[in-house]
């Protein structure tokens, strides 16, 4: 096993570890660090699709939403089953992942045969469509959602339930982010990554070169969605202990994911992490300075990045370190 391949993970894991330790040891900084972890994870997951294929999924948040429902459904149905113990949480995570993966397979299988613009159009509706399906067919509690705080307390006792929501949910986010980085790197160095690069640059030429573009788009799509499911399951459902369709299908998160990936550098490994941290800090800061105005400020920022800095921070950095020793590490 060639260890050199994993060098790019070093700065990333170091950063995650640092954030985690800061949050753990410094009073009052756990929540902010958790927020950064959430955004880093979100960016990392979204990057697998947006960054690597160059396709935009405007309905991305639906996968986060389904992930939350997965966790909520698992907990609310199984909390009385004593022998499962902590397994309920694991099942919740897996269910969230599965649900997101399933939706992405369905949507992706249909929509990814289409070329860029048509695909984006198809995804516009995913989010809205799903929200209306849930409320319209009164699925999973309809517009009233699911609340699991009581169920958690009954299953685990007040103390453990609390620590689940306030500590373990966030820790899981760090782990998920680290996992997403690993998978991203693995893809990048394998045939999948090359195929994705080719189709991102020039889809028609890629097809003529023998790349089955639909297959690889679907792989990236499902992977990205699966991670979103995990994030939704832990960072939303488990942490908040409730799920409401109005919240979890909120398009704001797609916008944030886009900003994070673009700002950091679409298609790079380090980019989403950097973007996530910068964005998380920015958001925290804005929440204090100008509450309720975040999106108003974000929108022109996106426009600015698109026009002036399309490769993102890490994208620019990569160009600078080309040919130097750092090249192996800034990926």
């Amino acid at each position: 096993m060639k260890l050199r391949r994993y060098y790019p993970l070093i700065p990333i894991y170091l950063l995650y570890l640092t954030l985690f330790l800061i949050g753990f040891h410094v009073r009052g900084l756990w929540q902010p660090m958790a927020l950064l972890a959430f955004y880093a994870a979100l960016g990392q997951a979204f990057n697998i699709f947006l960054g690597m294929t160059g396709y935009v999924d405007f309905g991305y948040v639906a996968f986060l939403g389904l992930g939350s429902y997965g966790m909520a459904l698992a907990v609310s149905s199984l909390y009385r089953v004593e022998w499962l113990g902590g397994g309920i949480i694991v099942i919740g995570l897996l269910l969230g992942l599965a649900m997101a993966a399933l939706l992405s397979t369905a949507v992706g299988g249909i929509a990814l045969r289409l070329r860029g613009a048509y695909f984006a159009i198809a995804t516009i509706g995913v989010n809205e469509g799903f929200k209306y399906l849930v409320t319209g067919a009164r699925l999973w509690g309809g517009s009233e959602g699911i609340i699991i705080s009581g169920d958690l307390r009954e299953a685990f006792g007040v103390e453990v339930a609390n620590s689940l929501a306030t500590f373990w949910a966030d820790t899981l986010l760090f782990i998920i982010a680290a996992l997403a980085a690993l998978v991203t790197l693995h893809y990048m160095q394998s045939k999948i990554g090359y195929a994705l690069t080719a189709l991102r640059e020039d889809e028609e030429a890629a097809r003529v070169m023998g790349v089955n573009t639909t297959k690889y788009k679907i792989i990236a799509f499902i992977t990205s969605a699966a991670f979103a499911g995990l994030i939704g399951a832990s960072g939303w459902a488990l942490k908040m202990t409730y799920v409401f369709p109005e919240d979890v299908f909120e398009i704001t998160y797609t916008v944030e994911a886009i900003v994070i990936v673009l700002l950091g550098g679409a298609g790079t490994l380090l980019g989403p992490l950097v973007g996530g941290i910068i964005y998380g800090v920015l958001k925290y800061w804005l929440a204090v300075l100008a509450p309720g105005l975040q999106l108003l400020i974000l929108a022109p920022i996106i426009l600015l990045i698109i026009v002036a800095l399309p490769q993102g921070i890490i994208g620019v950095l990569k160009e600078r370190v080309r040919g130097t020793a750092l090249e192996r590490v800034i990926v």
Partner: protein, 251 residues
């Protein structure tokens, strides 16, 4: 059995017939030239062979198998490789990576890994003389270098049939001769069939292709051994409206 066989393919765009009942055959290891002035249907014909277009009439057969309905990537995996008239590099990837992509998804597709593909890329880059540039971003190459990279990439696919689309346009005559020599070697060593398509660079066809097909307004105007075809006054007329020597038209 012919490697590639086109049976009466016709392609229409609205009211315009770009390719009109064209039939042709090529065997393994053969070199065929397709010449014709601008608008004669050459690129459309290529697109039909490589699967970018579906013909309204006619069939495309590869190794005896009807591939008329197959998508482009499947044809590549079966062994049809091509270059583009205006090179289409994957700009953010290095030259080496570009060529490796050809290797990874061509006929060797399932059998080689990333590492081997990169080694194969090195081999073909040396063959075309680009090994010094292998780690450069492919978007930053000169047009001629891009054409050479296109060629290396197509060869790395290990095709059975190679479609060259104006592969030597814009190159100085010395380079064209060297490239033709290279193609002859590759043809003999690896048994690849090559179709070279040109508009004026007769040099790319003259010393290299055994036969030539002349296209005019979408129809197959003439098919003959190279020297015959290129000195046929009718062919020259289609192009220029006046007699000319083969040596003249070397771009």
């Amino acid at each position: 059995m012919a490697l590639l066989k086109l049976e009466g393919v016709t392609k229409r765009f609205g009211g315009l017939t770009a390719v009109d009942r064209v039939s042709l055959e090529i065997e393994s290891g053969e070199a065929l030239g397709i010449v014709g002035p601008n608008g004669s249907g050459k690129t459309t014909l290529y697109n039909i062979i490589s699967g970018v277009y579906r013909p309204e009439e006619g069939r495309v057969l590869f190794e005896g198998r009807d591939i008329t309905g197959l998508p482009p990537y499947r044809r590549t995996q079966l062994g049809i490789g091509r270059t583009f008239q205006i090179p289409r590099p994957f700009s953010s990837a290095t030259v080496r990576e570009n060529v490796a992509i050809g290797a990874m998804f061509g006929t060797l597709g399932g059998k080689i890994g990333v590492g081997e593909a990169l080694e194969l890329a090195d081999h073909y880059l040396e063959l075309v003389g680009l090994q010094a540039l292998k780690d450069k971003a492919s978007g930053s190459l000169t047009p001629v270098e891009k054409k050479l990279m296109e060629l290396a990439r197509a060869l790395a696919m290990k095709p059975k049939l190679l479609l060259l689309d104006e592969a030597m346009a814009g190159m100085p005559p010395k380079d064209i001769d060297r490239l033709v020599g290279l193609l002859k070697r590759v043809k003999e060593e690896e048994g690849i069939a090559i179709i070279s398509m040109v508009e004026h660079i007769m040099r790319a066809v003259a010393g290299f292709a055994e036969r030539v097909i002349v296209l005019h307004q979408g129809k197959k105007f003439l098919e003959a051994p190279t020297a015959e075809a290129l000195s046929d006054p009718r062919v020259v007329e289609i192009y220029l409206g006046r007699p000319a020597e083969v040596g003249d038209a070397s771009g």
